[in-house]
């Protein structure tokens, strides 16, 4: 859908496109607020898939669980560092608000290393690294 001059188009003339920001693909992450390491919350597996997709969690041979485990905490810390957020390793409000933002589909971390933050490469201590075709 292209809008040459969207400013002039009232929303009631745009059925199907007056989508509130909250209906994004990752809106479900909002419910993870205050979730802490060690807890098990329905849907956390989807968040792990998000981190896996963007390179923060290496590929695993099994499906992701809904456990807030060390792997998720580590991914969160790396994500928070990359985006200059407070590095808490927790799903705080600031982090969740950032996670649901629309973004480029290219991963932030390729083959387990990244130079995204401050030009300092970070590596996972795992031989099972996330690889994408890009």
């Amino acid at each position: 859908r292209f809008f040459p001059n969207i400013t002039n188009i009232p929303p009631w003339l745009l059925p199907n496109v007056t989508v509130p920001a909250a209906s994004s693909a990752w809106d479900a992450f909002q419910k993870f607020g205050n979730c802490r390491p060690g807890e098990k919350v329905d849907g956390l597996a989807k968040l792990k898939k998000y981190f896996n997709y963007f390179g923060y969690i290496p590929n695993l041979p099994t499906n992701f669980t809904d456990d807030f485990d060390d792997e998720l905490e580590s991914a969160l810390k790396t994500y928070q560092k990359n985006f200059n957020l407070n590095v808490t390793g927790e799903l705080d409000e600031q982090t969740i608000n950032h996670l649901v933002r629309p973004r480029c589909g290219n991963p932030d971390i390729v083959n387990g290393t990244t130079t995204m933050n401050s030009g300092k490469p970070m590596s996972f201590n795992s031989s099972k690294l996330h690889t994408v075709g890009h």
Binding site: F3, I6, A21, H98, R103, G105, N106, N117, S118
Partner: protein, 194 residues
């Protein structure tokens, strides 16, 4: 700034690239003009040119809007979420999510559509990937991975310029005046060290 693993770039003999649009998309001239403008942001700072061709399959850079699973293993996810992706050099594949509400003109900040995404902002970012840049932690940079709806960010930051010029050198006619005045990561580190 960052690069893809192995720092892939377009070969030395390929500095004048062609780009084409997926014919099935039937883009308007106005939409195509947005991409021309986005390419110019980069050609201003490096010695490369980008010229449209009508031959999609022989073009160096192939631009297409797709919905959902489009065969490259990186399915799009509907409104918002992931907006686009592009492949490292010399692939030239540039895919955008056809489900987004793309804005190609007017003042997007006053849009009444909350999920409006500025096409040129995303295009400038993805062209950075096509040329070999990865993501950056510098929030003001074009290569920062996220963009908020109803916002426009099309000017290269110092961080972007330094990264791309490391790959291809500087355009001899570049005078440094076309970028936003944001510090690069390297500059900020140097400043902090001092």
């Amino acid at each position: 700034y960052s690069f893809f693993p192995g720092t892939p770039v377009w070969p030395e003999g390929r500095r004048d690239l062609t780009f084409a649009f997926l014919p099935d998309n039937e883009l308007s001239d106005e939409a195509k003009a947005v991409f021309v403008s986005a390419f110019q942001k980069w050609s201003t700072v490096i010695p490369m040119t980008f010229t449209e061709t009508t031959s999609f399959y022989s073009a160096d850079i192939k631009i297409g809007f797709y919905v959902g699973d489009h065969g490259d293993g990186e399915a799009f996810d509907g409104v918002l979420g992931t907006l686009a992706h592009a492949f490292s050099p010399p692939s030239g594949m540039f895919h955008l999510d056809g489900d987004e509400n793309w804005v190609i003109g007017g003042d997007i900040t006053t849009s009444t559509v909350t999920s409006a995404i500025d096409l040129e902002s995303v295009a400038v970012h993805e062209i950075g990937h096509l040329l070999g840049l990865g993501h950056s932690s510098v929030e003001e940079s074009i290569m920062y991975p996220t963009i908020t709806s109803k916002t426009k960010k099309v000017d290269l930051a110092n961080d972007d310029v330094q990264g791309i010029q490391k790959l291809y050198g500087a355009n001899p006619s570049y005078d440094g005046s076309t970028t936003s005045s944001t510090p690069s990561t390297e500059a900020r580190e140097t400043s902090a060290a001092r």
